[in-house]
Symmetry: C2
């Protein structure tokens, strides 16, 4: 049985320490202020009256994710004021909980008589997030008030959905509670939580009651079109889908359920091989915020919601707890360094919901004005959304990302992610000395592992890796190099060759033919018009045969790249004979994708044209 | 004063004779049958009752354009049956005309009390088309019944709109009558027609009454946002715009109105330099069927309505009657051989309304299903539309295209277009012996022009032209080579070098960067997936440095081309390191654009990627 090394055991330095500090110092307080301003926190008292901001059906989940973020932050750096604020929120929730265990800041004051009648109204989703928050807060502080609240609430849910079957539907319209229930099972050892999770997962797609409470888009939207074990393709609302798959992976793991694990692997493979943006972004369509079909990965119209990309990390991480295969951490790493981090500004104070791979403001405005486009373009991050799921999802994953680095079993310690810092767990310690993701050298100092194995993931993007200055001593197994530890303290000096590289896309993906994106290690790069002094970025083309320059960029903690290329030369003619020379040489500066939209209004492009013959 | 050589004086052979024969044998009868089936022709009796097909506000214009087409066809090849059918329609119109001159097959039976109250309801547009039909039929047959109908109707319009000013609006919501009134003026010499045209043109954009009867989209849509003399950019509904500009050009010509002519030239230049598809297509947006903004020429979302492209030919032709400049016939030629002819199937029996430059059925379906697209995709021509303006517009321009070839003034005969055939006019004759558009050799035999000049347009696409086997004796003036005619009968042997060429687009045009289209002479080519055995045409790229093969194609009367290129090679990977070698050599067969969608359901692409380094 593989065990996760918890985030509390991993002290980060360097790149991630910096992001975690901004998260603690800026993001978590900012979200607190916005949630206070918008009435979310006060709504937890369940005392809504006319004239107050009306609670929304998913506000509880926003608050819960903030509490969870605060818990992670408190565990890493204690802060009395933050803890007091969190306690107050929890007190309000506990006070408002109904005698029978029910809690929902929308239904209690607004339409209690209708609780558990509308499958799409997120009650179980909110409970799932409250459960995750309760566990995190209990683990961070030892305080169990919220934990007792959710235990009581889960008992009610078990009664209404399973024992009595009196709820109007059988399974949640928005999944999330499944994975939370497994967390609860693993915390308490109480099988009832696992059984309830199993009920929700195995009933899904089989219940007449759920057919009668179908969402506005159709059963594919909320993953109710067939039993989950039969799924072969990621479908519908991408956050819902990935939370479900995460819960399925958890259940498969704790039950040793091979059939369910196989379904999860099929879905994971379908996503990463057919439906994932090069940034790790998931979900191609604004319509239904959903997965669409294989190879549909439009850049400008991308949805790639921050939450969906975070959920892909959750799913990948859970799969890696069943099966040691580098494809999982490869996807999680791509998502974290790109489509997740892009969700928050470098200063930590503002957020993207949608993470496009191309911004062309002029073209968008033309489409808006003339081509009847109904989509909105957000070119700059904002401090608050009506639907504010992403900000506290970002703050919780950034605060707890240390927990994704390592896992272990009786014989082996597994290294999934790279980054300066030190982990102490299970009587051993692993220290990484590295400038990752800016440099491919990682020196591991391993203590207390003598006689066991130390397994290091060889990143999928890496074409040449060395150990202690020499080529790897043997082939990796499913992407991990297994090394016998022979000393009490042993150093493993890895080098993952990390030149800037030009990445191509499967030709089936419309819009990427003849284009490349530039990557270095796990970081995907993009061009911004404001930095390159050009209007339309598609007038640029790059020469993949020319050397790529790089320089440290303090602002991002990563590198800027300089690639050689060309800018198409314009004159007054609309049409002309083609000439390969009708262009000027141009050095193009690229930023990490996660850093786009931090330099004022700008066009942005990930997939750049390859220079013509 | 430049005079047009009428279509009746020009006998075509070769390419255009073939198209005209199909037009006469198939298209005109087919349209007749469809208009009969749909109730359009019976509606002319103005005896609509419940249970019959309800007349539409623009049906009169459809019928009128069919009558005009029949007239042109009759003039070229007499046909008693066709003439009898036409007479019957005209009889019905004449019988239904009201005492005061009014005629409209929708308003008379449906809501006569509301005539001339709704500016957007096409009454004057219908009258314009009836006027053109009446003139054409009178000129073809000498019969003046319809001419007398429209004379009486125009007199009514003059009274209601000018003398009394009792109509609810001042100028037509859909322009067309302006150019018809100048035809009437030129036929009759009666200034009242010119004056009414002048009233409509000069009142446009200045009338409070028109502001109060604004169309659904806004004043830009129907060219009412400012006085027409101030216009600098082609705006709004593209057919309306181009009919207006054609009328403006006519008025500028007959009045010698420099200011108005300058406005026309500005608009023409704006279109051909900024807003015209490489096929001559006009109008980039389905929304409002309209011109949009400079350099907005999307391929898949193109509107490029057949009627708008025909109207561009009208406008260009009229400008060439004011000013001998090859830019006008260049645009008209591009439009005729591409975006006009594409509107009708090779067999003459079915029609496109919208003429896209790219069809990607799979992508379209994905957009439709997932990206909330509201546009429709018509991948095959159809026999009848609800809005059937295009079919009879095609039949009338094809039947009368001979009338666009030549013009003359006291000193000079001008050759604007090329094609086998013979013209006899004004005491002279010009014969063209040529395989144009498939070969660039044109042997002119000119009789009766001794002492005058013979001016031949050097096509804008031609990079090398010779005369009698030698380089041109002097520079062309505004694109025309002026030659002194020294013999009673003289031969001028022109050769316009016509290799297949790769055309690039201004880099400001989104979607064309790094792409080329292939052209040969005036003909633009396209790739069809069904012919090339590939699924997605954007996986193809072409090598502009390799030789291009060609072969005659009986089906089209033009050539097929074979270009060297590549097809991207796919494997299971979604992302991979870029390699220029990850492709296979591929010979790509190209068809004339006008021949696309004649070979079954297929993707189609005009702008092809240039092969990478």
């Amino acid at each position: 049985m593989i065990k996760q090394v918890p985030y509390t055991s991993v002290k980060t330095e360097g790149f991630w320490k910096n992001r975690q500090k901004i998260n603690t110092d800026v993001t978590i307080p900012k979200i607190y202020d916005r949630f206070k301003d918008t009435g979310r926190f006060d709504a937890l008292k369940c005392k809504y009256e006319e004239g107050m901001p009306k609670p929304h059906i998913f506000w509880d989940s926003d608050c819960a994710k903030w509490i969870e973020s605060a818990a992670y932050s408190l565990a890493l750096s204690p802060d009395e004021e933050l803890e007091a604020k969190t306690d107050e929120l929890i007190d309000n929730i506990a006070s408002a909980q109904l005698e029978d265990g029910y809690f929902n800041s929308y239904y209690i004051p607004c339409e209690l008589e209708n609780r558990f009648t509308n499958r799409d109204n997120h009650e179980l989703y909110c409970l799932g997030h409250l459960t995750e928050a309760a566990i995190a807060y209990y683990q961070a502080t030892g305080k169990d008030k919220l934990l007792n609240v959710v235990k009581k609430y889960i008992d009610l849910v078990e009664r209404l959905f399973v024992t009595e079957g009196s709820a109007a539907f059988s399974t949640p319209g928005h999944e999330e509670i499944e994975l939370a229930l497994i967390k609860m099972y693993e915390l308490t050892g109480d099988e009832k939580y696992k059984n309830l999770c199993s009920f929700f997962i195995n009933t899904r797609g089989t219940s007449k009651k759920d057919e009668n409470t179908r969402s506005w888009v159709g059963s594919f939207y909320d993953q109710t079109s067939m039993p989950v074990r039969e799924l072969t393709e990621a479908m519908g609302h991408s956050v819902r889908a990935l939370y479900l798959y995460s819960g399925m992976a958890d259940l498969a793991r704790v039950d040793g359920d091979k059939e369910l694990k196989n379904a999860c692997e099929r879905l994971f493979d379908n996503i990463v091989n057919k439906r994932m943006y090069v940034t790790g972004g998931a979900g191609s369509a604004h319509f239904g915020e959903s997965f669409t079909c294989d190879y549909d990965l439009p850049g400008e119209e991308a949805y790639a919601e921050t939450c969906a990309t975070i959920a892909l990390v959750f799913f990948a991480h859970r799969m890696a707890l069943i099966d040691i295969n580098s494809k999982y951490a490869d996807a999680a790493e791509t998502a974290m360094y790109n489509g997740v981090l892009s969700g928050v500004s470098l200063d930590g104070g503002s957020f993207f919901y949608v993470n496009p791979l191309e911004i062309n403001i002029e073209k968008f405005n033309t489409k808006k004005n003339f081509h009847n486009s109904h989509e909105d373009l957000l070119t700059q991050r904002v401090e608050v959304f009506g639907c504010s799921c992403c900000p506290p999802n970002l703050s919780r994953i950034i605060a707890s990302f240390g927990g994704y680095f390592y896992s272990y079993d009786d014989s082996t310690v597994y290294v999934h992610h790279f980054g300066a810092g030190k982990a102490e767990f299970n009587g051993c310690s692993v220290e990484q000395d590295t400038r990752y993701p800016n440099h491919g050298g990682v020196r591991f100092t391993v203590k207390g592992l003598k006689g066991k194995r130390f397994a290091v993931r060889i990143p999928g993007w890496c074409e040449y890796a060395s150990l202690n200055g020499e080529k790897l001593p043997h082939e990796p197994v499913k992407g991990y190099l297994y090394l016998d530890v022979e000393e009490d303290e042993q150093i493993f000096d890895f080098y993952f060759d990390m030149p800037a590289r030009f990445v191509a896309c499967n030709p089936e993906v419309d819009g990427c033919n003849g284009k490349v994106c530039v990557a270095k290690g796990p970081v995907i790069y993009c061009a911004e018009s404001v930095i390159n002094g050009v209007k339309k970025l598609n007038t640029l083309s790059v020469d993949p045969t020319a050397p790529v320059g790089s320089e440290p960029d303090e602002e991002t903690g990563a590198l800027r790249l300089r690639v050689s290329g060309f800018e198409d030369r314009a004159d007054d003619r609309l049409y002309m004979r083609y000439s390969a020379d009708n262009r000027d040489k141009k050095e193009i500066t690229l930023l990490p994708y996660f850093a786009f939209a931090n330099h004022g209004e700008s066009n942005m492009l990930v997939w750049l044209r390859v220079a013509e013959r």
